[in-house]
Symmetry: C2
Subunit: 242 residues, 2 copies
Amino acid sequence: MHDHAPDTRPATLHARIRAEVEARILSGELKPGDRLPTETEMMARYSCSRMTVNKAMASLAATGLIIRNRRAGTSVARPKMHAGVLTIPDIRANIEARGARYGYQAVLDELRPPCCVHLGSEGHHLGQSRFVRSIHHADDSPVLIEDRHIFLDAVPGAAEADFRTEPPGPWLLGHVPWTEAEHRIAAIAADPLTARCLEISIGMPCLLVERRTWRGDETLTIAKQVFRGDSFDLTARFGPSS
Amino acid sequence: MHDHAPDTRPATLHARIRAEVEARILSGELKPGDRLPTETEMMARYSCSRMTVNKAMASLAATGLIIRNRRAGTSVARPKMHAGVLTIPDIRANIEARGARYGYQAVLDELRPPCCVHLGSEGHHLGQSRFVRSIHHADDSPVLIEDRHIFLDAVPGAAEADFRTEPPGPWLLGHVPWTEAEHRIAAIAADPLTARCLEISIGMPCLLVERRTWRGDETLTIAKQVFRGDSFDLTARFGPSS
DNA sequence: CGATCAATAATGTATAGATAAAAAAGCTGG
DNA sequence: CCAGCTTTTTTATCTATACATTATTGATCG
């Protein structure tokens, strides 16, 4: 047997307190709205100082599992649902996870002059960019075509990077800190160019992911990824953060 | 003028410390890998106790912005990329945000006997479920067809709920606490049934979202949503949590 | 009866100190 | 020069205490 359930793991006290309360909530023993013991009570219950209890409970409050109010006490939060931690594995990991060999090929790499885009009411100015079009393969069959703009004002190092063998995505993630990102996900029909690159027929469904990344107000990069619909999907798993 | 930049907001000391360090990282002044001052140094810098500094830094470490090691000190984390806080607005809000009128119609509502599914190597038993097929409209044109299973063992209240006018999604989110969810997103071609329901031609690209929600080990609900590819897309915005 | 004001109970913040643990840095003996 | 030990730096945890903040409770007064 694997012993994959080490039972009560947490080494430190506040982690143990936290884990026990968390377990009681997630098991359904404590329902949303239920009142939890006061810090003073738990302090006696675990025979430790109030600060230790506080650390545990503050951490639970930070993740949104419980609601705390002065004088009114602590209660189980009602599920907020619409926010959780999301993980999207990158393309390479995704392909290799299926046991396929990953391949990358840049088909275009050029400089683009500054331009303006209009988002809603405000026009936004974008500086000079490096444009890279690349194709990603799984076992020699093309799976993804990616058009990426990297804005050189915001990412100066990008001018010298070599994207002939390394995809720009991982490079950016390793070199550039970002503060915000937006994804747009849609299903589209393959246009002639896409169809030729992905070796499918025109009109076949493809998954489009448009990703835009900022640091502060500055746009760092815009990526448009078109996946073959029949051989690729995104999965996102999320739960109450940490 | 609106005074929309209150400068240094945080009321409490540890929040201020936290915010300042966070700002220096997000502005790019501190790059991934850079070393941060030790707690003792910051304690002098802000003339406060070490516990206060610790609280600020521990909180930053919890969100993954910095990495802390005994003896080795604290450094800026290199961006983990694929993890952030994600928000998916529900269908109704999404449709109404475009200025369209939202419509909901249940076309099927029945009980399904217990069944087994096979995920990977392990078979998983699923109890009796209520199955609801519904169509969601934007301004009288169908946009989404949703097949939803709700497992009555895990969600007892679901047997009595009235899904003729209220979609099961929002109902579940308001009544049932969950611990984990998984989404699979793919682009598919419309099959005949789907095409008829969504009033499009067979083979047109559609966005498929399969959502599965658990509490602990128990599956609460499985939803399969098929969106018209030409009139709907998902957007997810995320940044370094909190 | 109802509004106002004071007491109270709960969490939030902060301090000062003690001890533990981990990992780097330095030092030894071969 | 390298292996193995010791020292030291730095974060991690915990205690005990103090005061601040805030929403409720209850009492007082009109």
